[in-house]
C-alpha cells in the first residue's frame, strides 16, 4: 500500500520533470539575457578580469560565493562536531 502510493508519487514527479525538460528552450539556443551579455561585455572594463566566470563568482555575485564558503564551513564544522572527542559522562 505504502509502496504503491510512493510509486504513484514517483511516476507523477517523473512525468513532471520530463515535461519540463522537453518544453524548455532547445539546447544551444538560450534566451538572450541582458545580464549575461553585460557580463561578457563589461567584465574586463569594470573588474579588470579576463575570466568572466571568476568575475561573476567573486564580484558580481560575490555574496553567493560567501554563502557557498559558509556552506562548506558549516559542513566542516558539522563533520568535526560529529567526530569530536566526547567527555566521559557523555558516552
Amino acid at each position: 500500500m505504502r509502496k504503491a502510493a510512493l510509486f504513484v508519487a514517483f511516476l507523477f514527479v517523473s512525468a513532471f520533470l520530463l515535461l519540463a525538460a522537453s518544453s524548455i528552450r532547445p539546447f544551444g539556443a538560450p534566451i538572450v539575457s541582458t545580464m549575461d551579455d553585460y557580463f561578457i561585455a563589461n567584465a574586463q572594463r569594470e573588474i579588470a578580469a579576463n575570466n568572466v566566470v571568476t568575475a561573476i563568482v567573486f564580484d558580481y555575485r560575490g555574496f553567493d560565493t560567501l554563502g557557498e564558503a559558509t556552506v562548506l564551513f558549516a559542513a566542516v564544522v558539522g563533520v568535526l562536531t560529529l567526530f569530536r572527542k566526547l567527555r566521559e559522562d557523555e558516552r
Binding site: F16, L17, L19, A20, S23, I24, R25, P30, I31, V32, S33, T34, M35, D36, Y38, F39, D59, Y60, R61, G62, F63, D64, L66, G67, E68, T70, V71, F73, A74, A75, V77, G78, L80, T81, L82, R84, K85, L86, R87, D89, E90, R91
Partner: protein
Amino acid sequence: MSALSVHAPVLLIAIPLLGAFAVPLIGKLGRGVRDVFVGLIAAFTAALAGLLAADVFGRGGAASVYVLGGKPFNIPLPSGMTAPIRILLEVDGMSAFMGLITALVTITAIAFSFSYWKKRSGGNMYYSLLLLLTAGIFGMEMTGDMFNFFVFLEVTSIAACGLIGFRVWLGRSQEAGFKVMTLYTVSGLFVLLAVGLLYGEHGGLNIAYLAHGLTGGLIDKIALGLLLTGLAMKAGAVPMHMWAPDAYGEAPAPTSAVLVANSQASLYGLFRVLFTLFGITVSAATTGWILIGFALLTIFVGVTMALVQNDIKRLIAYGAVSQIGYMLLGVGVGLATIVAKPAYGLVAMQGGIFHMINDAACIGLLFLVAGAISRAAGTRDLNKMGGLAHTMKYTSVFFVIGAFALAGVPPFNGFASKFLIYEASFKLSPFLAIIAILSSILLLAVFVKAFQGAFLGPRPASPGGGEAPLGMLIPMAVLTLVVIAFGLFPGFFVERIVTPAARALWFGRDAYISAILGG
C-alpha cells in the same frame, strides 16, 4: 547611525557569519571569553534587526534595496526599465517582520544555551553552527535574489543538521540527522531546479525582475510546482512532514526553537514566491485552495499525532507542526479571497502572519521549558517524570502560559492571531473554522495531559531536581513577557508591524518590483 541603518540588511547576515567563523578561534581563549563574544554578537544582531524594523516600519513597510558590490547595479533596457545585474537585498515590511521573529528566537536560544551547555563537549562548534543557522535564516529573509535564497536555504540545512546530530552518543539523533539532511537536500534541489527553469525561461535571477517577466506559461507553472513542493517540504507541511518531529525532538532544546524559526523562514520563502514572484500571473484562488488543503492536513495530522506522544519534546514538536498549518490556513484563506474581497483577505493574512511571531514566541518558550525539565528530571518520557511543580515553580508557570497561548486560550497571544484566522476562514467556509477550532481544543487537551504528567503528582523521590538556574529562567521569562504583551495589546502590534507586513505581500507587489526595475 544612518550609515548603520543603510548597511543593516547586509550586516544582519555578515555579523553572525563573522561570529560563526571566529568562535572556534576565540573559543581557544576559554569558555568565558567565548560566551561573552557570542553574547555580544547575538545582541548586536538583534539590535540590528530592531533598527532595520524601526527603519522599514517607519516608512510604512516600503521596500528598501541594498546593492552588494556597488555601482552600477542595473542596466537600462529599451523599454525604459532597468535590469539588475548584481545581487540585491530587498527588505520590505514582511522581511523586516521575519527579521524580528528570528532575532527574538535566536537571542533567547543563545542566552539559554549558556547555562544549558555548561558541562558539554564541543561548545565552540555548537555556537558556530547556531550562528551559521542564524545567518542563513536572516539571509533567506533579506535577499531579493532567487539563487541567493537557495544558497542561504542550504546554509540553514547544513547548519541545522549539524546541530540535530550534535548528541553523537544517541543513535536516534544520528538517525534524525540523516533523515532530515536527505529531505532538506531534496527540497533544496527542487528549489534549485525551479530557479534554473526560471533563469532559462527569463534570463534573470532577481525576484523583482522575474516577477516582472513571468507570463504564467507551462515552464512557469512547473517552476511554481517545484518551489511549492520544495519549500512546503522544508517548512514541514503535512505530506512532507516526516522530518519535522525528528528534527525538533532530537536537536538540543534551544536549537529546536531556532529550527522553528528556520521552518518559518521557509514559509516566508513560500509566501514570497506565491505573492511577489507569481502574484497575479497564476490564479490566486487556486493556489489559495491548495494552501488551505495543505493547512487542514497539517493541522489535523499534527494535533492527532501529538495526542499519542509520550516524549515531551516530540509532543511539542507535533504541536509545532500543527501551528505551521494555522499559518498556512490564514495566508491560504487570504490568497483565496483577496481578489474578490480584499478586506477579508487582508484580515486572514494578518491572522496568518501575526500567528508566525506568536508561534515563534510560545513554541520557543515550550521548547526551552522542555529543555529545562528534561535536564532536571533526567528523562524526556512523560510517564517517568512527575511532581516537578513542587521543585520548579517558575518553570511550571511558564509551561502553563506557553501551552495556553499555543492552544489559543485568551488572553494570551495565540488567541489573538487564531481569532483573526477563525473569523476570516468562517466567512470563506464555516467548515474550515470548525476544524481549526476543534483542533485547538484538542491541542489544549494534549497539553493538559502533558502538564499533568510532568508537573503534577507526588514530589519526585530523587532529590536531583530543583529550579532551573537563573541563566535558563531569564530567557524563558523574556519569551513569556512577549507572549503576554502580544496577548494583551494585539491591536497595537497588528497595526504597527503585522499590517505593513501583510500589505507588503499582496498590495506591495508593484512597489517591490518598481523599487528595482524603476519605471
